[in-house]
């Protein structure tokens, strides 16, 4: 018997909690990093001002549990870097350690752009099904778009091109 809660083997399980909760100190450093990578510009809020950014940051960390330890270590390593030097430190990480910078920035950007406020701001409706109508295939015959194919008829070319 299957139920709607059964896990599909063809997709990875969805986790909504990171391997461990982030500490307040880690949150503080992360927000400083996030605001450096995603500052306010025009109508766009800086990362820490985006509504519900922290819950979405937690979701993003849960989704990237595979890099959690490496990213959190990098975050803690930046704890003593002052605001004036943070951009330079991140740029250095970008240049020298993409294996840390890419997932760190991906988690931050993923959280920011998935907050409902920012999604609406940038006009992103999210992923959704948009299935073709049942009659669309039949309509294709009427529109004439397939006429050249029907007129040509079936063809066969061997793998060798003969």
């Amino acid at each position: 018997m299957t139920t709607s809660s059964d896990r599909r083997l063809s997709v990875p399980p969805r986790h909504t909690k990171p391997p461990r909760p982030l500490t307040d100190r880690e949150h503080d450093i992360l927000l400083r990093i996030a605001d450096t990578l995603i500052p306010a510009a025009g109508p766009n809020p800086k990362a820490s001002d985006a509504e519900q950014f922290l819950p979405y940051l937690e979701l993003a960390f849960a989704a990237r549990a595979d890099v959690f330890d490496a990213v959190v270590k990098a975050v803690n390593d930046l704890a003593d870097v002052g605001d004036d030097e943070l951009r330079g430190a991140l740029k250095q990480m970008w240049a020298n350690d993409k294996f840390t910078f890419d997932p760190l920035s991906s988690i931050i950007a993923g959280a920011y752009f998935m907050t409902p406020q920012v999604k609406e701001l940038i006009g992103y409706p999210g992923q959704h099904r948009d299935p073709a109508g049942l009659e669309d295939a039949a309509n294709e015959l009427e529109t004439g778009i397939l006429d050249p194919v029907l007129e040509r008829g079936p063809i066969y070319i061997s793998a060798a091109g003969e």
Binding site: T36, L37, I38, P39, A41, G42, N44, R87, L90, K91, W94, A95, D102, S105, S106, A109, G110, F113, M114, I122, G123, Y124, G126, Q127, D130, I155, I157, S158, A159, A160, G161
Partner: protein, 203 residues
């Protein structure tokens, strides 16, 4: 499907099926721009990059990998699974034919973008984070020396064992394989029923 069939003048055999896909979201747009300089992607620029996702169209293609014997699944002599059974060892190399096919196909998709008025085109020959269609390795055929199953999916080496999935394809083709897999499974299923019925009639 214009570029599906072999045209030797292109320098490779077989071809590709191209399809336009819905645009991925803003994070995909960010990831697609990773090659930009730090200041062109991060900082104030990030907002424009993410917004670019709204205006994009994604062309993708299925391309055909030929049945090459060096691409195979065997049993590992070193690794085992949690039950102690040998783990599958997958050997896969992209052939020169596939490389030429990928290059040609990406060039055609760039032309499609440009014809549609694209302001900026980002190309990627291999989409390595996609699973692709896993086909072949138990290919069908009449000769046990060069195939694993017969045309009904019955294995040459083990009596009464049938395989009915994409592994019995003789080549990958460039079209999505599910309909063909379903048709082959139906063919194998009918054959099994036929044989069981014949045995019952005899007993």
């Amino acid at each position: 499907m214009q570029f599906y069939e072999t045209d030797k003048s292109r320098g490779f055999v077989r071809g590709a099926k191209m399809h336009a896909l819905p645009t991925p979201g803003p994070l995909n747009a960010v990831e697609a721009h990773r090659e930009l300089d730090f200041d062109e992607l991060w900082g104030p620029a990030i907002h424009d990059v993410a917004r670019s996702a709204r205006n994009g169209i994604l062309w993708a293609a299925n391309t055909e990998d030929l049945p090459e014997e060096h691409n195979r699944v065997t049993l590992s002599t070193k690794l085992v699974d949690p039950d102690g059974l040998p783990a599958p060892k997958i050997e896969y190399r992209i052939s020169d034919n596939t490389r030429r096919l990928l290059k040609f196909t990406v060039e055609r998709m760039v032309e499609a973008h440009e014809a549609a008025g694209a302001a900026h085109v980002i190309t990627q020959e291999l989409w390595i984070d996609q699973p692709g269609h896993l086909l072949g390795t138990a290919r069908m055929g009449h000769d046990p020396a060069t195939s694993v199953v017969d045309s009904y999916g019955k294995t040459h080496d083990v009596d009464n064992l049938y395989i009915a999935d994409g592994s019995i394809f003789v080549t990958s083709g460039s079209a999505n394989p599910t309909c063909t897999i379903s048709a082959l499974a139906l063919r194998a299923g009918k054959k099994v029923v036929e044989q069981v019925s014949a045995r019952k009639a005899q007993s």
